[in-house]
Assembly symmetry: C2
Homo-oligomer: 312 residues x 2
């Protein structure tokens, strides 16, 4: 093994929840994403050399950073000691609901697996990312980790034991992510949820989740649009995002099939048929936020269908 | 129009709810089903000449019988007066959870539409069956009506306005229905349900419903099996069916992919890959009921993929 070899890996952002798919669906986008440059060295430790783009907000201790934790857990599982140096290019905004912590961990674990000679299949890397999520965010969920690692739309039927299902998506499906510059703490987004829901809302939610999967597999864009309805989390969480109702209305009137909160917010996502509709919807959302004097970034992208990948 | 013409139509039984798909999924079976012989006459009224097989339990007044109501509503909608005589061959046990009331209405409305020269498309007949269900059962649900009319596995995304989605099913999928001779009143089956459910149970339910649809469309029998889990209604309703836990266990150990309560019971359904597994599972269930001194009938059948059809 080349002691000084290195690799750079890109791992995409992902839309968590996907409206009706609260806690069970995640969708990888082509861009943006985080990048990890991972090199071997002669030490016996995993270290983080630098994090670029986080304004110093993320911990540099490897055992507290999702990229570091994923690598440490991977090495532990294959029972190897290896000196590893990580440089993390943090392109994704933190706490934005775009699966930022998962993307860093995914990039890191794909990189270490590659440099070790690929002892594990791609899918088998997921538990290390989930463990990193658990340490960073408090719960070992796969809803961002799985799409960022594997690409596409992923249904998490069960987290423990893990049972994930890849759902095909139609070719012209475009994703819009608009990140307004407001902070929504995951803790707050969690705490507004109620421990129980009306049965009739539950019925609507599983009708829509099932219909969304059917719409994706049938390539039925109108059905995808009708199904992108969340009666459980969105009515409670939308209060945390300034102007949400107006923003959503503007998106739906400007080419979005559906529109919702990505992850626990504040990022807004839309799904659209074709790039033109996506651009129109994204601009309409940004304009609404501007009218509230809120700056935002727009990301327009196809669905990422291959997951994280080596770029160097 | 031939004033004295007549037609005989078969409409299949259907599995309501389909475990995780509580209130939103229905699956038509090839057999058994109800039959309606419908003839024109010179009167201006819809009458029921006879009902065979119900032991006199169903009303002979056309406006109180689902077959009669469906025909009356159909004629009203096309603004026609027509003398109609209905003979209903009631092959499905009443109040069994096999979609008996819907099947009678479906057979009748397909028959009248045919004799009137098919002024309506098949799908457009659904509201008349739903109206018949409303009068007979108190609520205008499509979960038995739609599969009996159209065939296959039907997802009801919304009842009002109606939005139904046909979900393809894999070729080797077999259905088992076992009807034990116990009475479960729909009212009781409804009243054991709670108005709210834990959010975590809701999440499981929509994960499984989405996974079941994916399993069907991917022809993944193992996934179909893993997804046939109902954490909402079954835990409450199973108490109304003697020996349910043992029966279910026996089915799963004898070739069933999954097993649950059809509609509001007491009929038990299984889905299986292939006829051999279906027969084995059905027999195992019947044996369990026998050990409780409960008689039962077994129905083994493929999925009905065309809905109701003309037999004469």
């Amino acid at each position: 093994m080349d002691k000084n070899k290195s690799v750079k890996v890109f791992a995409p952002a992902s839309i968590g929840n996907v409206s009706c798919g609260f806690d069970v669906l995640g969708l990888a986008v082509d861009s943006p994403g985080d990048e990890v440059l991972l090199s071997f060295n002669d030490s016996a430790q995993v270290t983080i050399a630098a994090i670029i783009g986080d304004d110093g907000r993320l911990p540099l201790e490897a055992n507290k950073n999702t990229a570091g934790v994923a690598v440490i857990e991977f090495l532990k599982s294959i029972n190897k000691t290896q000196g590893v140096e990580i440089t993390l290019y943090k392109n994704l905004p933190l706490g934005s609901g775009m699966g930022s912590s998962a993307a860093s961990a995914v990039a890191a674990v794909v990189a270490i697996n590659h440099l070790m000679g690929s002892p594990m299949k791609r899918e088998d890397l997921l538990p290390f990312v989930m463990e990193a999520e658990r340490i960073a965010c408090g719960s070992a969920h796969a809803d961002n980790a799985a799409p960022s690692l594997l690409g596409g739309l992923i249904l998490i039927r069960e987290n423990h034991p893990l049972d994930i299902i890849s759902i095909p998506t139609p070719e012209e499906l475009f994703c819009v992510l608009v990140h307004p510059h407001v902070e929504v703490k995951t803790k707050d987004a969690r705490s507004v949820l109620k421990a129980t829901i009306p049965l009739k809302d539950g019925i609507k939610q599983w009708a829509n989740t099932a219909a969304l999967v059917a719409g994706m597999m049938k390539k039925d864009y109108a059905l995808i649009g009708r199904s992108l309805v969340d009666v459980v989390a969105e009515p409670l969480r939308s209060d945390l995002i300034p102007g949400f109702e107006k923003v959503k209305k503007a998106a739906l009137q400007n080419g979005a099939l559906g529109c919702g909160i990505s992850g626990s917010g504040p990022t807004i996502f839309c799904l659209c048929q074709g790039k033109e509709n996506a651009t129109r919807a994204g601009n309409a959302i940004q304009l609404e936020f501007e009218s509230l004097r809120l700056q935002s970034e727009i990301y327009i992208s196809e669905v990422n269908r291959k997951g994280a990948y080596i770029i160097d």
